[in-house]
């Protein structure tokens, strides 16, 4: 069925930049920003109502979150979202259900904001879940359905998930030479034991403020196991830094926190990730922003982040045993080539060399592979060496 091009713009429009940072409020977002969000939700419902009553097709404009609608801003060195939008129409068999879900979640968010409470993505799913009257159909079949619609709503309203009072599951840990205040509680990240401070999903200034910081840089490692090694060895103490971990691809909270540490406290960010295309992509997301959240790159990306390792030539350089090699499979190879082709990697010689080497090696390596040398090789030799030599990939 042909898509009807309605020039009519649906729900609009709010500022995209982050909220004012005034202290002393209960909710996670400032009152002013909340009022703006509510206004844009009401706008959305209003335009649907007006269209409906006038006999026009109700529709919602949602910016496209695809590779094709993503631009590499060379000057700012971040990924930005383009202007392309998709029109979600009620009277389109393929979109009707999503349209309904969009409005249900909009209503849910408004209720949340008004109650000055936050909910997890899963909580949101339950909040809008019910059986449609007169049918056996549920409004949502599973959480993933509500998650994607919520992301659509987020970009559609030009607000952030945090501003809709929704957060994701907590992931990521921090420890180091810094004191923060989280919703009024002061947290000394130097005294977090073995567990570390769990980085909250919402790291907006309204929730989280930096108090006292002596650290000189941030070391971000790929996962929990490596982070534990560093924490146990009190690496952050010896090297006066902040140690973070994002459980693989870092969630928004972690990225937002890294961004703020970098921008507000001017701390350089170094990444210690696996030597494989997935590790490279984590670095890419931290540095340039992700495709899915390109509209938030400005608030998330850290163009100055540096890639410390593991690197393809470490196998020879550190004289690792052949046992640590994990053969590249077809998907790895394709992914590696794709990454090499990204514009922000394309004109960087060292990166091209790195990926070429990875491919010619024919195997990948995890950070843990350094353990074969010595339990604390990574904290006592590998990273200090790199830091000393300032040997990073940019």
């Amino acid at each position: 069925m042909a898509k009807k091009k309605t020039s009519k713009k649906a729900a609009k429009k709010a500022t995209k930049t982050s909220a004012g940072r005034r202290a002393g409020r209960k909710g996670p977002v400032s009152r002013k920003r909340d009022a703006e969000t509510i206004a844009s939700i009401e706008n959305l419902a209003d335009s649907v109502t007006k269209d409906g009553l006038k006999g026009r097709d109700p529709s919602v404009n949602i910016p496209l979150r695809t590779v094709s609608n993503m631009n590499w801003n060379k000057r700012k060195r971040i990924l930005e979202m383009g202007d392309a939008t998709q029109i979600r129409e009620l009277f389109n068999v393929g979109q009707a259900r999503k349209f309904m879900q969009t409005l249900l979640l909009a209503k849910g968010c408004k209720d949340l904001i008004e109650a000055q409470k936050t909910l997890s993505l899963r909580g949101m799913y339950y909040m809008s879940l019910h059986t449609i009257e007169g049918t056996k159909e549920k409004t949502f079949n599973e959480q993933t359905e509500s998650d994607t619609v919520l992301e659509d709503l987020e970009v559609g309203l030009g607000g952030l998930r945090e501003e809709l009072h929704v957060f994701a599951k907590k992931r990521g840990t921090m420890v180091g030479n810094i004191t923060v205040e989280d919703s009024g509680d002061e947290i000394d990240c130097r005294r977090m034991g073995t567990g570390g401070y769990a980085i909250p999903s919402i790291c907006e200034p309204s929730v989280l403020q930096f108090k006292k910081c002596d650290a000189k840089f941030v070391l971000h490692v790929e996962k929990d196991t490596v982070w534990s090694r560093f924490n146990e060895d009190r690496f952050w103490e010896k090297h006066n830094c902040i140690l973070t971990e994002g459980s693989g691809q870092p969630p928004r909270g972690v990225r937002r926190l890294l961004h703020r540490l970098n921008k507000e406290l001017r701390l350089p960010v170094y990444c210690l990730l696996d030597c494989d295309p997935w590790g490279h992509y984590i670095y890419s997301v931290i540095k340039q922003g992700s495709i899915n959240l390109a509209f938030e790159s400005e608030r998330m990306a850290i163009p100055d982040a540096k890639f410390m390792g593991i690197r393809a030539d470490d196998y020879d350089r550190c004289d690792l045993s052949a046992d640590v090699r994990i053969a590249l499979n077809d998907r790895d190879v394709t992914r590696a080539r794709q990454i090499a082709d990204y514009p922000w990697f394309k004109d960087k010689r060292p990166w091209q060399k790195e990926i070429k080497k990875l491919l010619s090696n024919g195997f990948k390596m995890e950070v843990e592979s350094l353990i074969t040398k010595d339990i604390s090789y990574v904290t006592e030799v590998y990273v200090p060496e790199r830091l000393k030599a300032k040997d990073f990939l940019d």
Partner: protein
């Protein structure tokens, strides 16, 4: 093939040295009756069940022919009484013109006696074998004679004649002859005929039963009423669906192209006219003076003897006849007149199917007349689809020749082959390789002709002439296309309905959500959105129809005279009220009098647009 040709059968004697004299002593003429008595399967008396059916069929066919010729709307009742396990008494009564007393012996007691063989006219019977053969069969199996009661008018007495056929002489023997007074109560209308035959047989319902035969006869003869009382004493009435008699069929002369040399010689021997030219003009259709001269001139060139228009028939020998025959083959002659054909007509076909089948879609096609071997013929096809027809079986084929159902030898019939070679898949049906299409489908094929070429005397299958099969195929395709259009449209409608339901499902949620966000009137928004949904799906309906062309809102199919669609019978339109209505009339049993039946048909007809 005229059975007379089969007569000179000689018997061979055994191996022992036989002399010409001893052989001569055994050689004698065989009467037609004797021949058929021994070869009863040729006439459709192969087995007890078929014998019963053939008997009913011959009697009913004769009754219908007689009524129509006399311009009477036929009312025919058939009764079958079971006397013991294998013995039945069949009585067929009609309201026809009756039979003159002196003709009764000839018609019922003599094989190959009849009005229909010698002329080219569309009628059910052809050879004049049928009813007398049935009587003969009855006599042979039970020893009981045939009883005929006939009355030709209100003021005439009715005659009750009991007849025995003398097979060796092909002649009837009168057992008893009673004259009833004028005011007898045999016939309500004052005229008609009752035939009673007792015979050995078997009765079984289902395929190829009397029930099926009568049901199909009712379809092909919607102007007739049939009442059937079977051995179980249940009475079924097939009421008439229209009060118009079919137009009377005209008799035509043979077409020159349709005869063979032997026939031509025979005609020359029998003719009255004295000159060749007069002979050609008088005995054949489509031969005028000019065409006759043309033929004679050409014939003259083809033989050493001279033939002129004035050549006397009596002087013509074999050579001249052959020359004339060749001349006919080499000359183009106008096709025979076709006004001799009376098709059932699309309207009547539909009426017939409509009253006997619980289907949802009906379409009919009548082809223009065509010619095979000099005989004009016309094909008609009607199909019924959906409704309560069985869904998983292969299509049911109803074959008719001059309004007579053909129940046996389906796969030998030309129509069957035509159905197989029609691509039903194109019309949205399933059709396994080289077999009938499957689905809730009934296909009716009717051939109207002055001479239907049967494959045998028992008239069970139409011979496979190319011209005939081609016409059948064309008519089948015409109906198929209509069905295809309908099915495609129905599918689209279903899709549209689904689309609408998708929209309507979510509209309520959206209205409520908007209400909760802005406080707008949920009810008003709901109504407005629902209106858009209705408009949307309707719009798409139009857009999608027929290769994306926007059509006017009227349904193109329903404007067509030859199509009837009963939406209430369609599979998804089955609501309770309709089901109840159908239950109301349980399987056409018991005293459903004409009025109620008529009412039912008229209410249905309202939904069908048929102005002609």
């Amino acid at each position: 093939m005229p059975p007379a040709a089969a007569t000179p059968l000689k018997k061979r004697s055994a191996r022992k040295a036989a002399t010409a004299e001893s052989m001569a002593a055994m050689q004698r003429e065989i009467s037609v009756s004797e021949f058929f008595a021994k070869n009863r399967h040729l006439l459709g008396f192969d087995n007890p069940r078929k014998a019963v059916l053939t008997t009913v069929k011959e009697a009913v066919d004769n009754a219908l022919d007689a009524c129509e010729e006399a311009g009477i709307l036929p009312e025919i009742s058939v009764q079958m009484l079971q006397l013991d396990e294998t013995r039945f008494k069949i009585t067929v009564q009609d309201n026809g013109p009756g039979i003159l007393r002196k003709q009764i012996e000839n018609i019922f007691g003599k094989l190959l006696y009849g009005s229909k063989f010698h002329r080219l006219k569309m009628s059910r019977g052809q050879q004049g074998i049928g009813i007398s053969a049935a009587g003969m069969y009855g006599l042979m199996t039970t020893g009981k004679p045939v009883k005929i009661i006939s009355k030709t008018g209100k003021r005439k007495p009715s005659h009750e004649v009991v007849l025995k056929i003398d097979t060796s002489k092909n002649r009837a023997e009168v057992v008893s002859d009673t004259e009833h007074p004028e005011d007898d109560k045999f016939f309500a209308e004052g005229h008609g005929t009752i035939v009673t035959i007792e015979l050995e047989g078997k009765y079984q319902k289902g395929r190829q039963s009397i029930d099926e035969y009568l049901e199909q006869t009712a379809i092909a003869n919607p102007h007739a009423t049939f009442t059937w009382t079977g051995p179980t004493n249940e009475t079924v009435v097939y009421p008439r669906a229209m009060d118009e008699l079919p137009a009377e069929a005209k008799e035509i002369k043979p077409h020159p192209k349709g005869i063979e040399l032997g026939t031509l010689i025979q005609m020359l021997e029998r003719t009255d006219p004295k000159s060749v030219s007069a002979f050609l003009q008088d005995e054949f259709s489509r031969v005028g003076q000019r065409k006759a001269s043309e033929l004679i001139k050409l014939a003259d060139k083809k033989t050493s003897k001279t033939i002129t228009p004035r050549t006397r028939i009596s002087t013509m020998g074999h050579d001249e006849a052959e020359a004339l025959y060749k001349a006919i083959q080499d000359t183009s002659i106008m096709a025979p007149p076709t006004d001799c054909l009376v098709p059932i007509g699309s309207r009547a076909l539909l009426a017939g199917l409509l009253k006997e089948l619980q289907a949802e879609f009906f379409a009919a096609a009548t082809r223009p007349p065509a010619v095979y071997r000099g005989n004009p013929f016309q094909m008609e096809v009607a199909i019924a689809f959906g409704g309560n027809l069985p869904r998983d079986d292969s299509a049911r084929v109803l074959r008719f020749a001059n309004r007579v159902p053909l129940l046996y030898q389906q796969s030998a019939c030309s129509s069957f082959k035509a159905i197989l070679e029609t691509g039903w898949k194109n019309y949205g049906l399933q059709q396994p390789r080289s077999s009938l299409p499957t689905g809730p489908l009934v296909i009716m094929v009717h051939m109207a002709s002055v001479w239907v070429p049967f494959t045998s005397e028992s008239k069970e299958a139409i011979a496979d002439y190319d011209e005939i099969r081609k016409e059948m195929r064309l008519a089948l395709q015409e109906c198929g296309r209509k069905l295809g259009t309908y099915l495609r449209r129905r599918q689209k409608m279903k899709k549209e309905a689904e689309r609408r339901s998708v929209f309507e499902r979510y509209i309520g949620e959206i209205a409520t959500a908007c209400h909760n966000i802005t406080g707008t009137d949920a009810r008003a928004l709901f109504v407005a959105l629902k209106k858009i949904a209705a408009r949307k799906t309707e719009e798409a309906d139009q857009k999608l129809d027929q290769d994306g062309k926007v059509l006017d809102t009227r349904d193109p199919l329903e404007k067509d005279d030859d199509v009837i669609i009963l939406h209430e019978r369609s599979a998804d339109g089955d609501d309770d009220a309709d089901v109840l209505f159908e239950d109301d009339i349980p399987a056409r049993k018991l005293p459903r009098r004409g009025s109620k039946a008529a009412k039912r048909t008229t209410t249905r007809k309202k939904k069908t647009s048929r102005k002609r």
